[in-house]
Symmetry: C2
């Protein structure tokens, strides 16, 4: 009994230390703010992509000029003023959390200034029609907001910079995907590697509040609606394994390509990229524009529309789309624009699943598409838990938990034979 | 590029080392076996409780003899032959994983022999009508099966005893609740405190296979069916906070009572328990039988039936039921029978939620009941993530993720002021 907490003493401490409550209110306030920023970024990205779509639908060929010019402009502005905002945003937060990263330089990777830049330049990438996602950037956006809380907290507060960064990153994933569970698991699997009782309170608070803001803004909808799967039987094993292996190999290759392009030694193309980054981006933008025209417009943007089409069964172009989307996403990232690869990865994975589904019974389609999404994302990030939970929450496919889990795990094991973990390698490059 | 994995070399290693594949097959086989054992235990527990219910419905007063005699018998057999099988099973697995626990004594807490004993004596506790759950015991049952794999694995295998114990425990939760996600999070939050890439493969494998066995046996149903919640608005905040605080205080008290009863210094009642454990159990059984008769039978067993009644709106007795169930569960655990507190805790929590719901608008009932379950369980275990995910998976309440998360976190914070973490304290007592 002697080690039991003294409830009355605890209660007295709680009620008498007003500073503790001010600190708590500050954290709560910043968590709400982080949610608001992610919502604002979502609205901005959607609006910007709407602009692009309007242009494309009226003057399709104009994108051959528009996309290269805007891409070059984004890369120029990024390199000139906000180098820390290039790319996904997840490696930046991971690097800032790295134990060997000097605390003084943290502001170069995560700050309120970078949050605003990421929102503007990320939205511009959508306006350019590039193959980007807004989920990775949301991690950096929300972490940049949350870390700002530190300067108002009392010096003795138990909430340190690490906890705020992790909480912000988790809140970003939760609010961007409307997937609170994925936020929790992302924090553990990708950001900290462990679960500390003290930090988990801050993380959960941030996720709940940012998630509430997102739900208030967009309603409590699953990203892709609810997938209705038939009762899954043993006949799913063959096609499911094919999807898992295919997604694993493709995701491993994608990850390896990305690492080679973004951290590789400056030789051949990377020499050109290092010497003339803005011209390189213009050429990259041109390639993405051409790929978009060839695919009839579906490889532009995050790719969620293509996934919805596949889930609805309109999928004439899928195998070609999958290949083109793969290339467009890689080229986009190589250009160095601020933008993530989560959403494009999900649409590539969906394409893999749908391609396999053509050789299986038709009612397996949605299940295999979901498995492809989880598998490819797991292979790219080598974070199988986060990948399958994101997909589960996106499609509200509770009955598919086991198949998604198995697929994500297998794909990630295959990918591990091909490539280092993507975010790990990119973060290491930043430290 | 130089640090990239060499795919062909990796593939060659994979394909040439048959021992690796034998090891993998062994782990897969044991994971399936663990699932089968949990299924068998579930069937046995249900069958045994059916026996009790048949007796109670025909000769209600006979339980005043039956329950004390059987309880005494169970405690006698447990103490005589299988002392490691007493109680929930989760503290045993936690203690076996403790870094200071001598590896040689591990067999006294987790073994195939204890698995079989736990199944038989656990089922007998159900036959006695005690207020027990089968989820905690399932953790020990499955971990006992999984750890047995170690003796067949090659000495160089990367799958060590720790990974097997964690995987077994996680598979036990996943298969017992049909809640694979909860299994993952339980492994991280309660068993290891961290996520290791190597161990997570074994954990996921075990969860997927044991989960598949359970789904094949019982169908892919949520434990309590799908809760339909109305669109949640700000009017839920007041009642929700009340539930969270109430569940937090009640759960903290329950945890503190349990710790004092099971590890406290031998004084007053605990002196009697230490001197005459079997007679103590007989008196405890009598108290549980009286409580059951007073409540009209609803406090007997795990309490899932009562929760279903509450969710369906038949809840005349709830406030009294909640109090009596609280006492019955505590007394049952104090007796020292093999049996868990997860399911009874959920029904106590549901009772708290339902009691608050009487003062709120009626359509909030199911939401508040679910929040009560998550809150009370989180307060008792101080493992908020596992608690809210279990409840989310049990009621298939994806739309409630945020409210469940917030409630579990708050309740666990309140409980932390009142008591040490229950399983932690009990495991510490065993080391």
């Amino acid at each position: 009994m002697n080690a039991e907490p003294d409830f009355l003493a605890n209660l007295r401490t709680e009620l008498s230390s007003w500073r503790l409550w001010v600190d708590r209110a500050i954290v709560l306030g910043y968590a709400l703010l982080a949610g608001l920023f992610v919502v604002a970024f979502t609205l901005a990205a959607n609006w910007a992509f709407g602009l692009f779509e309007a242009l494309y639908s009226r003057h399709a060929w104009a994108v051959l000029v528009w996309t290269p010019v805007l891409t070059a402009g984004i890369v120029w502005a990024t390199r000139r003023w906000f180098p820390g905002s290039a790319g996904s945003g997840i490696p930046q937060v991971k690097a800032a959390l790295h134990s060997e990263f000097p605390a003084g330089r943290r502001g170069s990777l995560v700050s309120l200034r970078l949050t605003l830049a990421k929102m503007a330049l990320g939205a511009a990438s959508f306006a350019a029609g590039l193959s980007v996602g807004r989920e990775g950037p949301s991690v950096q956006v929300a972490a940049g907001v949350m870390q700002h809380a530190r300067r108002w907290l009392s010096p003795g507060s138990s909430v340190d910079m690490r906890a705020l960064l992790v909480a912000g990153g988790a809140a970003g994933i939760a609010a961007a995907f409307n997937a609170p569970l994925a936020g929790v698991v992302f924090a553990i699997e990708e950001l900290t590697g462990r679960l500390e009782a003290r930090a988990s309170g801050v993380i959960l608070t941030a996720i709940v509040l940012a998630g509430l803001v997102a739900v208030s803004a967009f309603g409590n909808l699953s990203y892709f609606g609810v997938i209705r799967v038939p009762r899954l039987g043993w006949d799913l094993v063959g096609p499911g394994l094919t999807v898992a292996l295919g997604a694993g190999v493709a995701g491993g290759l994608f990850s390896r390509l990305m690492i080679a392009s973004l951290t590789g030694s400056p030789q051949r193309l990377n020499t050109l990229r290092a010497r003339w980054p803005v011209r390189f981006a213009a050429v990259g933008g041109l390639v993405v524009a051409v790929l978009g025209l060839v695919s009839g417009g579906v490889t532009f943007g995050a790719g969620s529309e293509a996934v919805k089409q596949m889930l609805a069964g309109h999928d004439e172009l899928t195998p070609l789309f999958t290949l083109l989307k793969f290339i467009a996403t890689w080229i986009t990232a190589w250009c160095g624009v601020p933008g993530g690869i989560f959403a494009p990865s999900l649409s590539i994975g969906a394409g893999i699943g749908e391609t396999v589904a053509r050789f299986a019974t038709p009612d397996m389609g949605p299940a295999l598409i979901a498995m492809g999404m989880a598998g490819f994302l797991a292979a790219v990030t080598q974070a199988p838990l986060t990948a399958f939970i994101i997909v589960m929450e996106m499609v509200d496919g509770h009955s598919m938990v086991l198949s998604l889990m198995a697929c994500a795990m297998l794909a990630s094991l295959v990918s591990r034979m091909i490539s280092r973990p993507l975010y790990e390698a990119l973060a290491h490059h930043l430290v």
